[in-house]
Amino acid sequence: MKTVTLTLTNPSELYIEGQNVTPDNFAGKKAAEIAALDVWEGKQKGPLGKYFTVEGDGGATAEETKIVLRGDCTRVKRIGQQMTAGEIVIEGNADMYIGGWMKGGKVHVKGNVDSFCGIGMEGGELIVDGNAGHHLGSSPRGEWRGMQGGVIRVAGNAGNDTATFINGGTIVIGGDADIHISTHGEGGTVIVKGNARGRVGGQMVKGDIYVYGTIENPLPGFSMVDEVEQEVDGETARFVHYIGDLGERHPVSRGKTVYANLYTRL
């Protein structure tokens, strides 16, 4: 694996849109070619090298390419967007859409990220050591085929609208989650290890949600069915099991109605 290190030495006045910063785009390119890739600051298209110093060449393929971002990327959007393989490490914070529409590979952010990270995700791994903003692992506007696969791990808290229209994959939030989790969900798993504020699983058709802490405002459309013991994220614990959203439509499989499951830890 070859490593390309980008250091933000000449920060932008506005925000940078860096959708070209992916192993897919860097693969097979020399440092100078990478520095010539387009990024946008508003309507101005400029070479990556205008803002970042670039050290190291890309690997032969995306899989063999690792990108390390240094410097304050708080105002850099879309890193790792649509990547299919390889690795990205962001040493500090980053802005929106990090790992958006990812299909494979791994993104590791050591700081915080803003909203829409892991949006439209199909595969791969997005790890955030800090907090995430809103719409984590959510679907893009109007798209009913939300997160399809992959894993998102956020050590800290997440904002609202996590996993809207989730269809598959797993999201693990180490801290608390704000309102709306898995709204309109039709599959997948969301695990909140802290508390959830409310509207957990609203309009949900299928899929699983685990909340270890409390749910401040539970929905009337979820109804308790039993207590179960389950292994979740490597540990076994007892949960109260609810099904819902009873207000929503549900498919019938082999004569039985399939509901979404909500588990709260005992």
């Binding site: 506007r141 509207r199 009337p220 459309g221």
Partner: protein, 458 residues
């Protein structure tokens, strides 16, 4: 002889009354009388000729005062601001006709700007819900002719849309509703005891911020499931009673307002209201409608959808493809995050409506206000360009809250020399094209507008 102009549309609220009769003075300059309008509508017309109007663009001077300049100079200034900014924002369109909105889009596309309208801070959440869940709706005449159950949810038309109840919902006698109010059940769902709630048969005082839970409960009940004894401050029996009324209706309409789309969860409250409407259509006929505020705030959503496929929050900075994602490309978010470097405020008052923090960020950069009148935004701008008042001095198409286009008329001339939004944007577009051509001719031409920045403390 004073002249009577009939079938005049009212350029105030989304009810878009088009039955006004306006009497104009002999010389065609004064509005003498307005018939059929409500008090607010009445005022809008009288205000046009009653108040002192700005007749020329005004440019900020070094001493902080404004100086009158010509339209040519103002057009040049605006074009250069747009041309030089990396990410200019054009926002507003609360009181513009569709022709003006179409012309503004042409400018935004050419300049590589973000284009947004007031929905961004009011019914934008409705769009998000529509994107996710659709919009089973109807025209207002359908409600008038057929509805036997009306729900106002988080809406207070008695204040915000004064003639809504009499023209379309509670009181009118329609084709199948000849008994008027007597043939209708009125349900108001609102945490406040509003004037609209006074005329309701049933008022559910939902706990502030818990509408989503109440909708969830209605949906569960409609599907025949049990619900807790109390949801969102409403007793189970009442929920069951209202759900039964809804299911038994022949034709129902849910009108919802800012109380729903602006409380906690915003778009999701509307989204689940749409889900409930969908559900009810398995039993009978139900429709839903947003109580859009301004008379033509539905317009930009229509015009920009046919031009770009997005109703608001359009990022056109790439000039060859449009991007929309409210939360990122929405005006207040852009301003709060300091993402834009020039601002055109048109036909609204961002100075009054945006959070202070957003205004502070925007004030760091050039700020132009396009508005017939003096408002907070015009007073903190670097340039104020007056335009004719749509529906009074400028005709054009507007879209009512139910997306029905209404052709508005002109009743008097604008003050001498004052041009329309449409003409202004066409001229800015022309100037932008010239600047591009100049730039192409001599590469370096980094044209800087003449004029002085306003003091940055608002």
């Amino acid at each position: 002889m004073p002249k009577r102009v009939e079938n005049v549309g009212c350029p105030y609220c989304g009810v878009c009354c088009d039955d006004l009769v306006v009497t104009v003075s002999d010389d065609g300059k004064q509005i003498l009388e307005v018939e059929n309008a409500c008090a607010i509508g009445n005022q809008i017309f009288h205000h046009a000729t009653g108040s002192e109007r700005v007749k020329l663009p005004r440019l900020r001077q070094p001493d902080g005062t404004y100086k009158d300049i010509s339209y040519d100079e103002a057009v040049d200034y605006a074009a250069k601001v747009l041309y030089n900014a990396k990410k200019p924002l054009i926002y507003g369109f609360g009181s513009t006709n569709c022709e003006g909105m179409a012309a503004a889009a042409k400018v935004a596309e050419r300049a590589g700007a973000v284009l947004d309208n007031c929905a961004s801070i009011c019914h934008g959440s409705s769009f998000l819900a529509i994107f996710d869940n659709g919009y089973p709706s109807c025209t207002l005449g359908e409600t008038k002719n057929r509805a036997d159950v009306i729900v106002y949810w988080g809406a207070n038309p008695a204040h915000a849309h004064p003639r809504h109840m009499s023209r379309y919902s509670i009181f009118p006698r329609g084709f199948f509703t000849g008994k008027g109010q007597k043939s209708r059940k009125i349900i108001v769902i609102d945490p406040r005891h509003t004037d609209t709630a006074q005329v309701a048969d049933i008022h559910l005082q939902v706990k502030q911020g818990h509408d989503y839970e109440l909708f969830d409960a209605f949906r569960a009940v409609v599907r025949g499931h049990e619900i807790p004894e109390e949801v969102a401050g409403i007793k189970r029996e009442q929920i069951l009673e209202v759900a039964a009324i809804m299911k038994k209706a022949r034709f129902g309409t849910i009108f919802y307002g800012m109380g729903l789309c602006h409380s906690d969860g915003r778009n999701h409250n509307v989204d689940i209201a749409i889900s409930l409407t969908r559900d009810l259509n398995d039993y009978t006929k139900w429709t839903i409608m947003a109580m859009r505020g301004h008379y033509n705030i539905t317009g930009p959503g229509a015009v920009w959808s046919w031009q770009y496929g997005f109703p608001y929050c359009l990022d056109l900075t790439k000039k060859d493809i449009a991007h929309m994602n409210p939360g990122e490309t929405s005006s207040v978010d852009l301003a709060m995050r300091d993402e834009v470097d020039a601002f055109i405020n048109i036909g609204t008052d961002a100075g009054a409506h945006f959070p202070i923090e957003a205004v502070k960020h925007l004030r760091k950069h050039p700020w132009i206000t396009i508005d017939p009148n003096i408002c907070m935004a015009s007073e903190i701008s670097d340039l104020h360009i007056p335009v004719g008042i749509v529906g009074v001095e400028v005709p054009g198409i507007v879209y009512r809250m139910d997306n029905v286009p209404i052709q508005y008329r002109k009743v008097i001339d604008p003050p001498e020399g004052v041009i329309s939004d449409e003409e202004l944007f066409e001229r800015i577009h022309q100037r932008l094209s010239e600047l591009e051509a100049e730039e192409a001719a001599k590469e370096q031409a980094k044209v800087t507008p003449e004029g002085v920045r306003a003091e940055s403390e608002p």
